[in-house]
Every structure is written in C-alpha cells, then in structure tokens.
Symmetry: C3
Subunit: 247 residues, 3 copies
C-alpha cells in the first residue's frame, strides 16, 4: 500500500458544478441506469403516491439529510410537480425547526438561485407573519400538559418553545396544508432515523387524510433517498401505528 | 407531472457564497424573521446559558451535523463571545474524535479563513503536544477495567485507543476547561442523536460544574440547530440523569 | 457578547480548495499531528486489517457520512491500495441504496474528477447490467418470506423492491466480492448509527470470510472516521453477534 500524502489532495479540485448523466456514467454506468430506469422511470411512476406528494417527500428527505447535489434537481422538479413556490418555501421553514437551522440554510442557498431564475418574487412567498389556521385548543392543551408534566422541570425552555413556536405558530401557518406539513415531518423523521417521533407525526398525518397506502409508499420512496436502513428502521414503528389505527 | 431531466440541473449553479438576510428572505421571509427575532433576538438572549456557552454549544452542534452554512457565522460569533481562538481550535480537535475526522476537516476548511482574516497565528493555538491536566488515576482505571471486561475481546483496538487517545490524552489537554470539553461532547451527542453516550458525558459535565439549569437549556438551544427531534430524543435521557443526581 | 450580524458572513468566503497539512495546522497543530502520527502512521499501519480493507471501510464510512473533504484523499488512496476502479465505482453504486441517492451523487462529484485525472475509462467500470453471481434461492426465499410476512402489508413497495432491486440484483453484481460488499455495508451502518441492521449484515460478512479479528478492527477504524460514539453504539451489537457465532 502506498503512503498517503496530503499533497496528493492538491491535484484534485473539489466539485463545483451540478451533475449530469455523463458525470454519473463516467463513474458508475450502473447508477446512471438505476437513476433513469429504477428511480425516475420506476419509483416516480408508481401510482401509490402522486408526483406532487413524491416531490414533497423527496424534498423533505434531502433537506433532512443535507444532500446538496439532489437539491437543485428536486426543488425544480417539485415546482414542476405542482408544489407551489410558497409551499416549497414553507417546507424549508418547517425543516429549520425539524431538521435544524443549518439544514434550512443549505436549502435556501440552493432555492434562492432557483427562485431568482424562475422570477419567483416575494408576492409568491408566505408572509413572515399572517393569519393562522384555527387551533384545536383542547388537543393542544392536552399535549402541552402531558409534555409539561413529563419534562417541564427538565428543560422549561424547550417545553415552552415547543408550545409557543411549534404548536401555536409553525404548525398553524397556512402555507402548507396540515396533511402536507405532516407528510414533510414524517419524511424527515424517517430520513434521519428519528423513529421515536414517528408515531405522533404519522398519526397526525393520517388524521389529516394521508391514507395507509400512501404512508406505506412513503417508506418505499424514502428508502431510495435516505437509504434502505432508514426505511427498515421505520417499518416496525409504522406497522405498529397501522395496527393500532385499525382496531 | 413533468419528466425530470438531469439536463435541467445544468441551469442551476451550486451555491458559492455565504448567505445574507436578503438571500434568506428571497426564499422564506418567515425564516428571516424567525432568525432575527426568535433565534438571535430570543434564544440567544435567554439568561439560562451565557453567550459564551451558547457559542460553544452551537459550534459543537453545527460541526457534529456538518452544517457548512452556519460555520462561518458561528465561528466568528464564538470568537466575539469570548471563546478564545485556542478554545475554538480545541473544539474542532475534540470533535475529530467525537464526530468524525471529516467533520473536523470541514470545520477547518472554514476556520482557516477566519483565523487568517483575524491574524490568529500559531502563538494563539494549542500546541500539538504539551503538558496535560492531572488524571484521576483511580477513576480512569475503573473505567478502563469496566470497558475492557465488557468489550476487550470484541475490539481490542477500539478499547485500547479509547484509553490511550481519549482518556489519557485528548481529555487531559488543557486548551479546553473540563467543563467546556464535556459541554462540547454533550452538545455533539444530542445533535447526532447519540443518546446512549449522553449519560456518561452529561454526568461528567455536571461533575465539572455544569448546572442543571444550564444542562436543560442546552436542550432548548440545540433544538434550533439540530432540530426538535434530536432534543426530544435526549429529553427522557436527561430527565433520568437529573433524577438520579438528585437522590 | 457582540450582536451577531449576518453581514459579517459576507467577509468569509466559503471553502473552495482541498485541505493541506498547512491548512490543518493553521487551525489545529494538534490535529495535524494526530492525522500524521495517530491516524496515518498509527491506525493505518495496524495489521488487523489490510490497507485495502481499511480503504474499503474508510470510503464506505465517509460516503455514508458525506464527508466531502475526506473523499478526494481517500478515493485516491483506495485506488493506490489496490481497490480497483470498478470496485470503487461499485462501492458508490451500493451506497446509493444503503446510504441514500444523494450520498452516492456527492461521491460521484468527487470521483469523476479523480477518474478523469487517472484516465479511468468505461472499459474499467462495471457494466450497467451484466451477468450476476449465483443466488442461494433457498436462503433468499426464506428471507423474502419472513420479511413479507412481517411487513408485506405495511409497505408492499419497499418489501418488493428489497427483493427485486437489492437481493436479486445489487447483491449479485460481481463488481464487488460478496465479502467486500458486506464489509462496505457494515461500515456504512456503523458510521450512520444504524445498529438494527448490523446483525444481518455482519453475519453475512463473516459467512463470506470476514474474520472476527477483522470485524473488531472495523470498529477501531470507523471510530476515527465516524466518531467514537458510533463505534461504541455498535460495540454491544457486535459483541452479541460474536458470542452467538461462537456457540
């Protein structure tokens, strides 16, 4: 084995441009074929989820996993798949809270060029503040009380912010339909292996109209973008949720 | 739904510059307001953690999660918040071991420009090798024996390196106060969802002076930078640690 | 504490070039020494794993964790350590499925320049489609039946794709020896903290010839590239596998 020399690194300039199919096939002809046939020509054409939903799921997964090379293509495809610019904007805002501020900033670094390129101006974006969707005060009080009882003394700040910023603000912003906002959340959770939060959010999504067949297909879809292990880790959790909802 | 064409990707040049508030608001006016008001004007002004501690927690979380777009701003802010250059250097060194070599290298790629810009020279950096803090031989022998008994035959190399490189070297480097080094570790563990290691390291942090109120606020803070699910996954673990310490 | 101003970010241009030892020591002389002495001069010279295996493990871990700054160096080192171009190509293809499409694309963005630089043409790459290795039909039917019984109604798409794309296609591509393909998979799982899938894949690797001493050393090695917490989370899982195999 040769000695590894850091100076060798100088000869390789880091990537600067978007990838083309030629780039992919110059390294892996197989991956070019899998992308064209299995992914775009296969997965994306399955009827179990609409193209628009697939775009929502994909955008959420790639932002959650900060996959920069997928963002250009999939943000553009989302807009072409009838995800409104305001909705794409709101997915990014939502994931600042559910995947981390830096993940949202990475998404913005790509989205800003796309929006400028397509002439998407502030009139098409959700306002910073505006009218909120109605809140189920009963359910929210119950949630807040439970979390407060469990963890109110452990991290008062986190518990309070969860109520004030998430459930009484972010989740009530109208720029995403509740079903879609939940779909974004569930997709990000699966992509990041955060199985403990899947039950609450998948139930919420299904209460808002996500059908069981669609939920199962989210796993099929996210497996490609976050990797098979993430999907398989979520499988038993999702199975348990389906079984409980059927009773 | 339109056919996705890889050639569409060519029209979108990948991001090359740092983000400004205008960039953010061109995609999400809401995120611009959340950043200014909720994050900088809210979270960062809470008294439960000092600004300096908040910077340490933030830098650790963003290196652990390799959030490149946050690094420029927060490395600079850390220095402005009285984190010494030597301490910022040492956080990066520490996270090479606790988040992975590539995460540290990503951090260095940003820090080198900041250090050069601010004229921070080698005289301000921790030496490669130097005098170490005193070691509690009794406690270390106990830890090493326990880990050796449990896993010595599974991965002798990992077990030996843990003793030689981490507990008899890295953890004794004086460039970070023990409390701060533990705070870095705990923040990175929460940010990466590595809850199994939180008990040991949070107890160590609190033994070194991190107060319960501060520890709870670390969760409040990391929620923004690593996402709410990471903070909520850590909550029950942290609660359990607090309860055991109170007995 | 100073007010954080987003405008400060403008003064710091994001990283554009590969890192040199001078870059590293300009931030952390310690990390330069740890890299040269502990990592390259220490870990990489340990006999428990061959250099070629170490390269396979490293490449898998850094693709799984999308560590861009390590990719240039380690893809080149892999080729110098007798990993054939076709094998490096196939590692990337494999990890599109096991770490996510975007991770593979990030790897391709680096590999394409290396391949072009070294004049590696399509004749040296695995074909998109070709003859497959023989399949143990009995074992595969058993696996498929078990997974189908458990999860066939939860996500029919995921279950079917697992059979069609992974076990009847990807895993039978000859461009990687079965032992090596399993080694790639195990390394990625450890690096991503996906412990639930480690038993199946580590057993598969050891059935294909990965020795216990080598498997233990994978943990020693991945600890550096994915961070100590990942290795320690995998330790009890690996211990359990070793114990069951010994009976």
């Amino acid at each position: 084995a040769k000695e590894m020399k850091m100076s060798d690194a100088k000869k390789i300039v880091p990537p600067t441009g978007p990838l083309t199919y030629d780039d992919v096939s110059s390294v892996s002809p197989a991956l070019e074929l899998y992308t064209k046939k299995t992914l775009l020509g296969g997965l994306w054409k399955r009827p179990e989820l609409s193209s628009r939903d697939r775009s929502i799921v994909t955008v959420a997964a790639i932002i959650a996993r900060m996959q920069m090379y997928e963002m250009s293509i999939h943000f553009a495809l989302a807009l072409d798949n009838d995800v409104k610019p305001a909705e794409l904007s709101e997915v990014i805002t939502h994931l600042a809270f559910y995947a981390g501020w830096g993940n949202a900033m990475a998404a913005i670094s790509v989205a800003k060029d796309l929006f400028r390129q397509r002439g998407i101006g502030i009139d098409q974006l959700p306002p910073a503040k505006g009218e909120l969707l109605p809140l189920n005060e009963e359910a929210e009080k119950q949630r807040a009380t439970q979390v407060g009882n469990n963890f109110g003394t452990v991290s008062p700040g986190l518990v309070q912010n969860t109520t004030d910023l998430l459930f009484r603000d972010l989740w009530l912003r109208p720029a995403l339909a509740p079903r879609d906002r939940s779909l974004v959340t569930v997709s990000a959770l699966i992509a990041n292996g955060q199985t403990a939060q899947i039950p609450y959010h998948l139930n919420r999504a299904m209460d808002c109209g996500l059908r069981q067949e669609e939920a199962g297909e989210v796993l099929t879809h996210v497996a490609f973008y976050a990797g098979w292990p993430c999907a398989f880790s979520a499988l038993p959790v999702v199975k348990d949720i389906f079984e409980k909802r059927t009773k």
